[in-house]
Symmetry: C2
Subunit: 417 residues, 2 copies
Amino acid sequence: MQIADRIEGYLGGKLLPFWLERVAAPEGGFTTYFDRNGRPTGQTDKTLIQQTRSIFMLSHVTRAGLGGGRAAELLGPGLQWFLENFRDTGHDGWYWIIDKTGTPVSTDKIIYGHSFVIYAMSECALATGSPEARAAAEHTFDLVQKYASDTAFGGYREMFLRDWQPRPGGPYGGDRKSFDVHMHLMEAYTTLYELTRRDIHARKLREVIEVLWSRMFDPVSWTGIAQFGLDFTPLPAIMFRTVWGADRDNEGEPRPLDNTSYGHNIEFLWLFLHALEVLEERVDPWRDRLAVLARHTAGFGVDQKYGGLFVEGPRNGPARDLQKEFWQQAEALVGFLDAYILLGDRAYWDAFVRVFDFVWSKMINHDVGEWFALLDRDGTVRWDYLGHAWKNNYHTVRSMIQTLARLRKIESLGLAP
Amino acid sequence: MQIADRIEGYLGGKLLPFWLERVAAPEGGFTTYFDRNGRPTGQTDKTLIQQTRSIFMLSHVTRAGLGGGRAAELLGPGLQWFLENFRDTGHDGWYWIIDKTGTPVSTDKIIYGHSFVIYAMSECALATGSPEARAAAEHTFDLVQKYASDTAFGGYREMFLRDWQPRPGGPYGGDRKSFDVHMHLMEAYTTLYELTRRDIHARKLREVIEVLWSRMFDPVSWTGIAQFGLDFTPLPAIMFRTVWGADRDNEGEPRPLDNTSYGHNIEFLWLFLHALEVLEERVDPWRDRLAVLARHTAGFGVDQKYGGLFVEGPRNGPARDLQKEFWQQAEALVGFLDAYILLGDRAYWDAFVRVFDFVWSKMINHDVGEWFALLDRDGTVRWDYLGHAWKNNYHTVRSMIQTLARLRKIESLGLAP
C-alpha cells in the first residue's frame, strides 16, 4: 500500500532520527526547542508536558520495536533526570516548569500535566519494565484522586497552586472543567490500566468515560463542549493564564458556546475505542453516536479544497477557523482510519486521504523531518518552528506509528477501498 | 438549671462509670456486649463500629476533661490493639468484623465504618496527641478518596469487597448512596479538619456538604432522603445484607420514597452547625432551611403525648413508626438545643424538654447506667439490652456531654426560657 510504505519510510528514515538525534538535552532531561531547520532555538526551560511527552514518545517507539534500541537507551537517564528534578518533594506532585538547573519556575499543579505523567510513566513501564516508572504512575494516579477529584459534582478540578489549593477562578481556571483534560485523563488511565490491570484503575477509567459522554458532549451532534463550570454548566471557552511554553493564542474573546474542536472530537474517537479495547468492552452500544461524531468531523472539519483538518467551528454548520494546526492533522489520521474500520464507510477513508495528502505535501518539513506548527488554510507556513515546549513529539510520532499500524491492519484484512 | 444538674450527676456518676468499668475487653480491644443488667452477654466478635466508637467515646470524654484520667488510660492499649488487629495489611483499609483472636470474620470494606475510623482517630489525636492515630485518620481519608469517591457523579460509593471492588448492587449496596453515610463523612471530615487544618480536608468537607444539601434533601420540606442510585436518583430505602451486629430490622418491604428519619434530620442539623463552626463559616445562608427542617422534626417527630422522638414518617404528615429508639433521642437532645440557640424559638426548647423527659423517665436504665435500645411509644421496654455491636457508647455519651455543654451555654447567656 503506497501510503503505508511512504509513512514507514518517513517514520524510520526521517521522523525518528530527527528526535533520536536531538531530544537528549546536554544538561540532562529532554529538549524540544527546534527551529524550522531543526536547529536549537536556545530556549532551555523544561516543561512537564515536554518531558513527559518525550518519555512517552521514546517508550512508544520502544514498544513498537522501532528506533533500533536507541529510544530505550535515551529513556534510562531521561527518566531518572525527570524523577529527580520535577517532583515536588514538599507538597508532592510535579512542577509545571523548571529551568535547566532544576530550579522551579512555575510550581502550580496542573492536572493536564499530571495526566501526562500517568500516561508517560505507564507507557515507560510497559516498554522497559521500570519499577520506578510504574510507581510514579500509580502514585500520581492516587494524588489526582485525592486532590483533583470533585466529590461534589464528579469529574476533576484542573488547576491548583503548589500546595494543591484550587487556583482562583476565571482566567486562573480553578473553577472550570474541560473536555480536553478529561479526555487526556481517559487516555492516561487507559495505559495505566493496560499496565497494572488493577480494578481501581479500570473503575476510574469507566467513570471519566461516563463524565465525558454524559456531561461533556452535545447529545445531538455528539461533538465535544470545551469548558464547564464545576457543576458541568457549559461555558464559553476562555484561555487560561497558564504558561504552556507557547500557546497558539492566549487572549481574546471567549469562544462561542456552540464551538467545537474537530481535532479533539476525532482524537476522542480513537482514544475511546482504544480504552474499550483495553477494558475488553464491546463497542456496539456506542457505534451510533460515534458515527454521528465522525460524520460531523468529516463533513465540516475536512477541507474539501486544500485537504487537512480545520481548527474549529459550530456544532451545526461550516468551520469558522480554517487554519491547519499540526496536532489536529496527527490525530485525524488515526481517528478517520478507526472510523473507517468501525463503520465501513468509504467517506472516512476519503477523509483520511484528504488529511494525509495535506500533511504529506504541506505540513511535514521533509528536508528536516518534523512537522511545521501552524499553516494557513492553503498550506502557507505561518508558524514554522518544528518544536517547542508544547509542540514536540507525542502527536506526530504516535500518529505515524498508529496510522501505519491501522493501514497494515486494513491491508491484511483486505479492507482497503 | 435543674436539667443540667441532673445530666451532670448522671454522666459523671452513672453513665461514664458504666463504660469505664466495662469497655476494656479482657482479650484486648473493647467490648460493648451488655444485657439489661450490665452483665456481659458472652458475645465476643469485634466490629469496626464498636471499636472506633469506643475509641471516639474515650477520646471525647478525655477532651471534655471527664473520667478522671481513666478514659485516657484505656485509650492507649485499646488504640494499639485496634491498629494491630483491624488493619487489612493486604489490601489496605479496615476489616468490618474480626473475632476475639483477631481472625477476620467479615472483610468487606464498608465506608460507614471507615468514616468512623477517620472520626475516632481524629478525636483520639486531638485528645492525646497520638501520631499513630493522626496518621491512621489521614491515611484512611486518602483511601476513601481513592477507592470510594465517585468521579462520575460525585459523592461516594459505600460498600466494597475486601479488595475494594464495589459490592454487587441491590441488597449488597454496591450501587447505592445514602444520606446516612454522607452525613457521617461530614461528621468525620469536620473532626479531621479540626485536627489537621489542612486545606484538602476542608475542601472535601465542603464538597460532602454540597452533596448533602443539593442532592440528598427534599428541597421543600428540607428533610433527608435516605437512599439513592449512583446518579442520585432517590430510591425507596432497602436494608442491606451487611452484618451490623444487631440491626433494628434487616428485612421487609422497601420504605416508601417519601419516608424521612427524624433522628437523622435533627442529627444532621447539629453536626452541620458544628461543621460550619470548625470551618469558620457563617450560618446565615442556611438559617431558613434549617428552620424548616427543625419545624418538621419538632412538629411531626416529637410525641406530644408520651414525649420522645418517633422513628420515621412522611415528608408532610404525622409519623408512621411510633417506636422510640435510643439514638434518635440522643441526637434530638443536642439538635433541639442547637435549633433553640440558632432560631430563638421557644418551640425547640419545649421539644428538647419533651425528649429529655422521656429519656430520663423511660429510656435510661438508672439502676445500671446506660440506655435501653428500643421502647414502644409509651415507654414499654421492647429491646432491653444496654449494649451490642452497634448500640454502644458513642450516641449516649456524646449526647450527654454535648447537651450539658449547650445547657451551660444557654444558662450563661441568659437564654433559658
